[in-house]
């Protein structure tokens, strides 16, 4: 479930990055984060599948819920990291302009 949620996040972020192609939104780091985590969890899933077999695809509801909760938390953490990078790098100069106004 965590892998699935991260893959969806990676695909959506990459699609938005491609459509907007606006380097000032710094969507690149967000794409890398989601894809990197997706690939690493894919390796994890391969090992789990080798161990559990077909049972891997029918997890207990409580495990699924916990994994989904983890997946959403991972997406939230990545978004927080991205927004912090965006505000610190401030490629559009919005934060700088606001601070100078004051």
């Amino acid at each position: 479930m965590t892998l699935l949620i991260t893959v969806f996040a990676a695909v959506i972020t990459t699609a938005v990055w491609y459509k907007k192609s606006d380097e000032k939104m710094l969507l690149g780091p967000l794409c890398w984060m989601f894809w990197g985590a997706s690939l690493m969890w894919l390796a994890d899933a391969v090992f789990e599948y080798a161990e559990l077999g077909a049972q891997y695809f029918s997890p207990a509801p409580s495990d699924m819920l916990n994994d989904a909760f983890l997946g959403l938390s991972v997406v939230a953490l990545a978004l927080v990291i991205w927004i912090v990078i965006l505000l610190i790098k401030d490629p559009k100069g919005v934060v700088r302009a606001r601070l100078r106004k004051k």
Partner: protein, 138 residues
């Protein structure tokens, strides 16, 4: 248990290599300009260091989110000895090392293989626009 430490180590090495390569490429471009080369062309040309930074970004991104997952599952703690297995005796440590050698190495290999495929595809894409423009002008 601590499988993310393997791609984490790779991330450190790749980042250092990318920065060194970037510096080398910048120096090379400056020398070319000094020797009478085209300054605009030299600054516009992206070297291999840029592509190496892709790998570093992929690895760092994955490592950060996986570290959070390990924290979630209690396999990593924010205090000494940081790895739960390290405080559970030699059996847990050997299990952790085994997982690092199997899952961790596979993670690093998969990420690096995907990056290598991306680099190959990117070189093909970089050549494509000229061909498309040439076809359009016919």
């Amino acid at each position: 248990m601590a499988c993310f430490l393997v791609p984490g180590t790779e991330a450190i090495v790749v980042t250092a290599a990318a920065f060194l390569l970037k510096k080398y490429e910048q120096n090379k471009a400056q020398i070319k300009v000094r020797e009478g080369g085209d300054a605009e062309k030299a600054s516009a040309k992206r070297g291999f260091s840029g592509k190496l930074f892709w790998l570093a970004d992929l690895l760092w991104g994955g490592v950060v989110l996986l570290a959070f997952e390990h924290l979630w599952h209690g396999e990593v703690v924010p205090f000494f000895p940081f790895l739960t297995a390290a405080s559970e005796g030699p059996e847990a440590v050997s299990e952790m090392l085994g997982e690092m050698a199997s899952v961790g190495v596979t993670m690093a290999v998969i990420v690096t293989a995907v990056w290598a495929a991306m680099v190959a595809i990117s070189y093909a894409i970089e050549k494509r626009p000229e061909r498309v423009e040439a076809e359009a002008s016919v």
